[in-house]
Point group: C3
């Protein structure tokens, strides 16, 4: 439970809010590279952290990300003409390069031309892993030439093209409740559960080992029957460790009298979640970015550390409907959405699926968006299964409060802390999970 | 005319408002029984008194009515799985019975399970006359076993199945202006008027006895030509009497030199209106319930005290379009609504109908909804024809103010005061209307 | 740049606001005469200056313009029955003539009838140039019989039928940013520009004399090649003179070593803009009227002082799509609007049009509406090209502040000050523009 004040504090990310200031210390995913496919292609609108922006790709391929309205008299630069290394406002012809410098002011006579005085709000951009990232915060006083924070060394941003795939989807809720779902392993048997054999009682079936499985086959470490491990213990214990980058969390299930089955995830500031996957298998990361306070962007990444994804894998991820949702044409809004109750099939809910809703992200959005656009956390009742939620919120608010007092977030300028992977594994019951997992969760150590 | 403060006072019914507190002392119609047709059928969303709710019918047929959001982490219980005498949230599997008791918390380990501490907001429900009723207020300290108020003995809730029929419709305005229309007999010749023979002047025709009639044949006491009585006196005098249950009102028209023609209606707290009907004929009651402050539910009941309704009668009520409106499929919103100007036919308005709009409830909604979502009563100009409106508002505000001072409304706990019928009748000009009608308006006395 | 306070001051026109009070000192275009084509035709809804109104034409052809809601119990008079020199509310039959007098109150008995006490809010109307004009302000204390201000003698309201044509369009922005576009000659080569021959650089082409032209042929004084004059100097200097009626403004371009090319426009209170046209040619006036603070009406007039418009001219103005926009059927909203990005053609923007948007008014709306519903002028950066904008705003705020102090606006009661035309002309470089244009800009002097 949060107080009303804390709930406001943690959910609001507009300019000038404490949480908005924190978000503006990090490189954030802004849009897909494919949204700006070619040099001098049409600009696109994008809203991030409650700011209306326009993105464009210039003649040499560089990306510009501008405040949407022209600094002269406010016409939207979305209608701008993208030409010769700059975007020209069509109202009076002012032109800006990707840095925001006004490079032409053709409607002013030479004697009164003041283009050198005009610098439009332009956020620096980088392209990594098929995503255009931006940094919307203040420049650093590094003393060195570069006044931008280093780019976070998330594994999937470091692997060659072909080894990753990225989807982007609109979520009609505040970022935080979406993020809370990402770090919450406790909901998996329910929101993502299937009933394999019909019986008189759902809960008996859930509790009957082997009778529940996830809609999407969970990838397992060779030798582990993950579905079985999941199904035979639906009340995992969770432990957390605060880290430089955020929170490392372990979900522990009874495997056999000697061993625990561990799933270890990472939440990384501000909102990347590295999901547990067996070493060597394809991995998944969810990154959430506030659009405004009532909507957020979901970037969902799958990658393999060591080899290209196969066509079959790519096809499943992109087109099965179980991983990426099908989108309304020309938008990032899923076809199954809150206005149509996610196309819930009540008969299937009765007979085979816990939710009656198809696809992991749809199930997540059904529970997340139905909390309301900004979930009122004064009304919740948390249990031990919510340990990770509590830890994440505390860390997030702590770092934001420290920033408000002048202490910059460590992770924002220490890109190497992002070199972490999620993992699942068996460990002796008396072993330390952090010791046991240390090598497997560290990118580059293997 | 009301002051701005009184208009706020009388129209707002959210939790914590004085009028909201008053509404929460009464059993109110919540939804139709047919909306939950079977045990374990899909839950439905419903909004009442500004509260978002989810209704479901459990395995044994009992109805549950819950605050919409799960008390754990807020996912909507609308997506819940309705199974074995309870509704299970699909986020983490918490399950609640119709009383709101948490009967299962499968994601928490035994040592930390706290289901006995969780009691979800659940409003008690009763089914009467095809309607699921709910009581959203505080429990009574009766000393006896039952801590709920007795159910109001409205005649149509006491007759056997087959003798009543109920419709439910969405009205896009605050409940009060809809209620004001229900008690207002003065508008009938206008909003519901037809012109029987075309002539040069509407008003001459209206005032020419026999030339105006209602679109829907008014049922008459045998021997009374009600249409003629209506038409020959379009300026009825109204008298009111404050009662235990609300207000009894009489509309008096000149019938002949010796007699008055009386139509006697009742407004019963909080918003049932018993319309005048000849003894023995089918009767009508309108019940209004706030959805939110800008929309309301209209329950419209027809019944016969002594015999089942015939197929012909049911067909007329349900399908003629003159009584119940045709609805947009899958909703309770009439097809003729404010977004299409109620399908007004201006040519028909010119030649035959006062409004050019088809159907009694459409005509009522056209005048009621076009006042604005919450009518600004600081701008009105009331006359003697509005005597009943003034009396109803005064009583409603008086009872709400008394409640705010700690005096419970009498009618809420005295169910027998609801045993009243509307009636029409001839009475000698020097007779007392209350004496003359006493027997006919009392259910059970005949 | 305006302060936040001034931006509120100048954009808000509801009842009781200072700028709303100023607007209510002038006759304003309310709707097209064709919207009320016949006596006793159906009423229409119209919103002006944030007031909901209903207009109707009575049996003898007079126009009534009423506050939308009946003064009795608030039903909308839009549903009223238009009959025999008055509009009758269909709720209880009250009837009003065009002056707002209640001429019938049929639901009240004679002894309590109070129709003589009821005077509904009714704004006086006049019809000029195919437009129904209204005056929404206080009556004058003239001592004479007429207590209304004289009608402004705009030339196009004085010429015979056949010599003018009027269009009305909905603009989804505050009136002021639309008005600012009307007086701004500096945007013409950009927002309305075409590129005549493709080349490597837009700006080189713009600056290459003769290579840029307007999408719509600019009408020229015989002997002047206006397109060439426009194209060879895209940085016109502007000068302004405050006048009784508002602001006269001159846009000066270099023509040849001896002469300047001048375009002289007038902004007339509250929001008529007379555009420069060669003497004798067809002329254009844009009149803007606030609908509410976030939307405005655009009345666009073309006329000829001395002869009827030809069928060919009328056809071009109304149907080419370059002058009047094509409208959504049954509305005044253009088909190309902000919801579809004005049907921008990005390929055409690349190859031939600065905006890629077809039609002058569409181009204007693209830049105007994309500023946001109420443009935030605290963020703008004005240059010398914005001299006229600054002068107009200053005058508008000055007159409104004077009115707030009790000084009535001169133009509102001196109709003759509106006898002005826009004009274009060559003048010797050392000549005074005001002297040189004096005769040509004065209606009736020629």
């Amino acid at each position: 439970m949060l107080t009303r004040e804390d709930n406001e504090f943690i959910t609001r990310t507009g300019p000038g809010t404490p949480m908005g200031d924190l978000w503006r210390r990090f490189w954030v995913p802004a849009l897909l590279s494919t949204e700006l496919p070619d040099p001098d292609c049409p600009p696109v609108r994008i809203k991030l952290l409650n700011e209306d922006l326009v993105a464009f790709r210039d003649t040499t391929g560089k990306v510009g990300l501008f405040a949407a309205n022209c600094p002269h008299r406010g016409a939207s630069l979305f209608f701008g003409r993208n030409e010769e290394e700059g975007l020209r406002c069509v109202y009076h012809g002012w032109k800006f390069d990707v840095t925001g410098a006004c490079v032409d002011m053709p409607n002013e006579p030479p004697e009164s031309n003041f283009k050198h005085k005009i610098h439009h709000t332009a956020y620096p951009c980088l392209e990594r892993a098929g995503i255009i990232w931006t940094y919307m915060g203040p420049r650093l006083s590094t003393g060195s030439g570069n006044d931008l924070p280093a780019f976070p060394e998330l594994e999937w941003t470091q692997v060659p093209e072909g080894q990753y795939v990225v989807g982007k989807f609109l979520v009609n809720s505040n970022y935080l409740q979406a993020l809370e779902g990402d770090i919450d392993n406790s909901h998996v048997p329910f929101a993502h559960g299937l009933l394999t054999d019909p019986g008189p009682s759902f809960i008996e079936r859930v509790r009957g080992a082997g009778r529940l499985r996830q809609q999407q086959q969970v990838r397992s470490t060779p030798g582990l029957n993950t579905n079985l491990l999941f199904a035979q213990d639906i009340t995992p214990r969770s432990v957390v460790t605060e880290t430089d980058y955020g929170v490392m969390m372990g979900w522990r299930r009874d495997a056999d009298p000697e061993n625990y089955y561990w799933r270890i995830n990472h939440w990384m500031l501000p909102s990347h979640v590295m999901l547990a996957s067996p070493p060597g298998s394809n991995m998944t990361c969810n990154s959430r970015v506030p659009m405004d306070d009532e909507n957020s962007w979901h970037f969902r990444v799958s990658w393999n550390s060591s080899r290209p994804l196969s066509d079959e894998e790519l096809n499943f991820i992109k087109n099965s409907g179980l991983n990426y949702p099908e989108l309304e044409p020309g938008t990032f809004r899923p076809k199954a959405n809150k206005d149509n109750d996610y196309l819930i099939d009540r008969e299937w809910q009765r007979s085979g699926s816990v939710t009656g809703i198809k696809g992991t992200t749809q199930q997540d959005r059904a529970v997340t968006e139905s909390m309301g656009a900004i979930y009122d956390r004064t009304k919740e009742h948390l249990g031990t299964s919510d340990t990770v939620i509590i830890a994440m919120r505390r860390k997030l608010m702590k770092v934001a409060r420290e920033l408000a007092e002048g202490r910059e977030p460590y992770a924002a300028t220490h890109s190497e802390v992002y070199r972490r992977r999620g993992v699942d594994m068996l460990l002796k019951r008396n072993a330390s999970w952090e010791e046991g997992a240390r090598e497997l969760i560290t990118v580059g150590s293997k």
